[in-house]
């Protein structure tokens, strides 16, 4: 039995029908479905132990704090961070990037440069644009070349003593390209820049060891990795975040407060103002346990096989154009494509009529769409619960698309 067939029974939503057809869910890159283990963990927490975390002197508060901090330890182990102080809970990838962009943004000087890539999600672009705009700094972008790889020679030429930050996606949410983050980080460090990696499309799909990658910041979302919405993680390398001023203020992130000043709390709470997403952390803990039990190597192999099957099945369909690397070993669990003469939004709506959920549009990557000269694409993405049958149903429906309209 394949991993997909084995796991799908853990995901209650997958047994429903959509428009009279059994659901084929191929939009996990936007947000994954949740296994019963995660749903029950969140429910159990709310039923038995909910209270606000930290500083509570009653039993429920202590239990909630224990669970919240246990989630941090689980995440630390899952991503290979050196210490729990390096694991900051956020609301998601976007918040993690904004936190770093605002904290570092305050230290930018006119003429400083931020290096991004042409394949970034808007969430790893706009926060940097805002930081640069406020400080007179400049954005440079590593070009995308060939089937959708980063131009590393071009990257080397962009680096200079003016480069302050290199912000790059680990895995492209459109092309699926797995970027050589370790090499990118090494070169950035040689130029004296810090590196932020957007791991939203990587952590759910492949083994990630943040310390080994050499990233100074690595951020991802819970909801794309079988966990709840509203919880995310920002890993920050200790030497860097120790010296970083917090981006936002509030309760919880302080040790002592006077009317005109305050002393910051220890790591990691210094970066977690306000009541955190406690239930989200509990759910993420369950998700991390679930993925850990499957083994991320197994997850990656399973999804790569589905990606390979999808590329093979879609490529020969008349009118289909594929985007991104054709070698499934070079990409994550994402296949972007178009059907000639068909707008991606019409394609997605027609597939939905057959019970197949895919994403369509610019995928929050408009600069990449401009680079590719298209308005958007259809995108099928896979997770642990997808099967070869899902891919077969997708291919059959895509082949029929032009006749449907």
């Amino acid at each position: 039995m394949s991993l997909g067939e084995k796991t799908r029974r853990d995901f209650p939503i997958l047994s429903r029908t959509v428009n009279g057809h059994p659901l084929v869910f191929l939009d996990s890159a936007a947000s994954s479905q949740k296994p019963i283990q995660v749903i029950e963990a969140v429910e159990h927490y709310y039923r038995t132990s909910h209270a606000n975390v930290h500083r509570a002197l009653h039993t429920l508060g202590e239990e909630a704090t224990e669970r919240y901090e246990a989630a941090r330890d689980a995440v630390r182990a899952f991503i290979g961070a050196a210490s729990r102080e390096e694991v900051i809970f956020t609301r998601g990838t976007t918040e993690g990037i904004n936190l770093v962009a605002q904290a570092i943004g305050r230290t930018l000087r006119p003429g400083d440069e931020i290096v991004v890539t042409e394949m970034e999600h808007h969430s790893n672009l706009i926060p940097w644009q805002m930081a640069c705009r406020d400080r007179g700094a400049v954005i440079r972008a590593i070009p995308v070349v060939g089937e959708g790889y980063l131009d590393l020679d071009g990257y080397a030429r962009l680096l200079s003593p003016r480069t302050r930050v290199v912000a790059v996606a680990h895995v492209s949410n459109v092309l699926g390209t797995i970027n050589p983050v370790a090499r990118i980080a090494e070169e950035a460090h040689r130029a004296g820049a810090v590196v932020l990696v957007d791991g939203a499309q990587a952590v759910p799909h492949l083994p990630v060891e943040v310390a080994a990658l050499g990233a100074d910041f690595y951020t991802f979302s819970g909801h794309k990795m079988l966990g709840p919405t509203g919880i995310g993680v920002l890993y920050g390398r200790r030497e860097i975040i120790e010296r970083l001023e917090p981006a936002w203020g509030g309760g919880e992130m302080i040790k002592e407060v006077w009317i005109d000043r305050a002393q910051w709390n220890d790591l990691p709470w210094r970066f977690e103002p306000g009541t955190p997403p406690i239930a989200g952390a509990v759910g993420l803990h369950a998700a991390v346990d679930y993925l850990g039990k499957l083994g991320m190597g197994q997850v990656m192999a399973h999804e790569q096989a589905l990606t390979a099957a999808a590329l093979e099945a879609l490529a020969p369909i008349p009118g289909v154009t594929l985007y991104g690397p054709r070698n499934p070993e070079m990409k994550g669990a994402v296949v972007a494509f178009n059907v000639d003469g068909l707008h991606p939004h019409d394609g997605a709506a027609l597939l939905d009529q057959r019970g197949i959920a895919v994403r369509a549009g610019h995928h929050c990557a408009q600069p990449l769409m401009k680079r590719l000269g298209i308005v958007g694409t259809l995108r099928a993405s896979f997770s642990v619960y997808n099967t070869a049958e899902d891919v077969a149903r997708l291919a059959e429906a895509v082949a029929a698309l032009r006749g449907d309209l």
């Binding site: 707008h343 019409d346 709506a349 027609l350 549009g361 408009q366 308005v375 309209l405």
Partner: protein
């Protein structure tokens, strides 16, 4: 009612009003912020009426069909008629089960037409 009615499929496959107007008197273009779709409408006026109108653009079947039936409704009509048209009048013509997420696709050509004719854009 189907999502893609016979009207939408027919207009998508065989648009009657797609193209350009030679030496247009009025012209406008706009973008659907949801998807980046672009619709342009050009028109030639005579005696306060729309003598000829054509649309062009990169857009989905719903926007295309909406633009096509819209220009059919406007051809030969007084310019002032554009201000009275609403998405409801277009929906009636399209005869389709348009979801809220695609309502902007229906509305875009009307916004463009009203801008072209310099009439008030109505909600």
């Amino acid at each position: 009612m189907a999502l893609y009615s016979d009207v939408i499929r027919d207009r998508f496959r065989k648009p009657r009003f797609r193209g350009a107007v030679e030496q247009p008197d009025v012209s406008a273009e706009d973008v659907n912020p949801l998807c980046g779709d672009r619709v342009r409408i050009q028109g030639r006026l005579a005696g306060g009426r729309v003598a000829e109108a054509r649309w062009s653009g990169d857009c989905c079947a719903i926007s295309a069909a909406s633009a096509d039936v819209l220009l059919e409704m406007m051809e030969g009509q007084p310019v002032s008629r554009a201000a009275q048209l609403t998405t409801a009048s277009l929906l009636e013509r399209l005869d389709s089960d348009i979801r809220p997420s695609r309502m902007k696709c229906v509305a875009l050509p009307l916004t463009v037409l009203q801008a072209a004719l310099g009439s008030e854009v109505r909600g």
